[in-house]
Symmetry: C2
Subunit: 217 residues, 2 copies
DNA sequence: TACCAAAGTAACCAATCGGTGCAAAGGGGT
DNA sequence: ACCCCTTTGCACCGATTGGTTACTTTGGTA
């Protein structure tokens, strides 16, 4: 079971690399918090998954709450960073909106942890986000995104005027977010597999249609 | 502070009443599970809030998980029971739909625990609901509700045909549910109080408009 | 009124949790 | 080669958790 005497690296190379360890802890924490919620997540489980010692978590992140806060902030930075890459200004308003709805849907699929983390934060009455100025800053541009599309659509004469961009933003998120966060109870209540390929294709089509009907004349 | 000697009930009446105790436990459990989630809820806190002994909880409900399951099932029974009282068949399709959207919104306001419980259940991948046949049964009629309205609207020539009632059902829930469940993070991201009277009034108007735009020709 | 199942209580338990003290090992700067 | 701070590991702690054992009290009824 033990390493042979001639083996220079007993069983694990165990290189000193603070950034790598921090990164592994954050990845593991994101998974654990997403799967079990803030209260349900176990620090020992995070350490095990990260292939790190529990002591490291407290060394780098001070407490379970602070670790959660860091994970959550990073999640918001990630989604806003992805949105920046969309370059919606080069598209006509209608296509830009379609693309945004599509993006939101795809982001939730590819990053299911995001929804779960946000749910946990709302159960905690957003007490971790309240003190995070950086998240507020990156959110501002995001709100402006839809506003710009909306205004362009109005001047081009294809969108209604007077639509509150915040309400539209919320609705774009809602129609996708709700579908995923309630996929388990939903599949039982409606007695169909909401996550099958065909069901997903049907839903994204319905969502795009819904958003366009809100804004179009 | 203490009762007078002539008082026939010294300080606590402490009457033997199994049903009343069960009810108090269920009420307290609903509050505690809603506030702190399935994992975050404390059995001791439930016992304290219910003014009952912790042993009683295990006597009547076997385990924390079974208690949660009972609370959750009751929550579904309650919302479906409320929906039955709407009598949407007596209204014309457009009014019926408006009323249903309004009802959904108001139910979430008056029963904020419902949303939180459903969120907890989805975090648990609906493992408590899976085995509950009664919930499936009461859900069937609920799905049929929108289907009937939709069909009436089509024959009256005011609704589009070919709309999936399940998609519409999901969307009706989504636009209200998302707004409430994400009220804390949302108020930070959008930098406005989403729960103020005026914000709520604006949102419900937007939601009704959204749903009508989906179905109307 | 004596009985006894049901209702209620208090003290307790093993397991687990988030969090620490402390010492050893690694590796860049000099 | 040496230093010395950072990184890592292990064993441990007090508090809390869901759950239980053993007991007393209540009240309908034969």
């Amino acid at each position: 079971m033990s390493a042979q005497p001639s083996d220079p690296q007993p069983s694990r190379p165990r290189i000193r690399d603070a950034e790598a360890t921090k990164g592994r802890i954050l990845d593991a924490a994101k998974k654990e918090f997403a799967r079990n919620g803030l209260e349900g997540a176990r620090v020992d489980a995070i350490a095990l998954e990260a292939n790190a010692n529990k002591r490291m978590i407290y060394h780098y992140f001070e407490s379970k709450e602070k670790l959660f806060q860091t994970v959550l902030e990073n999640a918001y930075f990630d989604i806003r960073e992805s949105e920046k890459k969309l370059e919606l200004d080069s598209l006509d308003p209608r296509e830009a909106l379609e693309r945004l709805v599509h993006f939101t849907w795809n982001y939730y699929i590819q990053n299911p942890e995001f929804i779960s983390l946000v749910n946990s934060e709302n159960l905690a009455q957003a007490r971790h986000l309240k003190t995070s100025e950086p998240v507020k800053i990156v959110s501002r541009r995001f709100v402006g995104l839809v506003d710009t599309i909306l205004k362009r659509g109005v001047t081009e004469g294809i969108f209604r005027s007077g639509i509150d961009p915040v309400q539209l933003n919320i609705t774009i998120a809602a129609v996708s977010y709700y579908y995923f966060t309630n996929q388990y109870t939903g599949s039982i209540i409606f007695e169909r597999d909401l996550m099958s390929e065909s069901a997903q294709a049907e839903r994204i089509r319905f969502n795009i249609d819904t958003i366009l009907r809100i804004v179009c004349l």
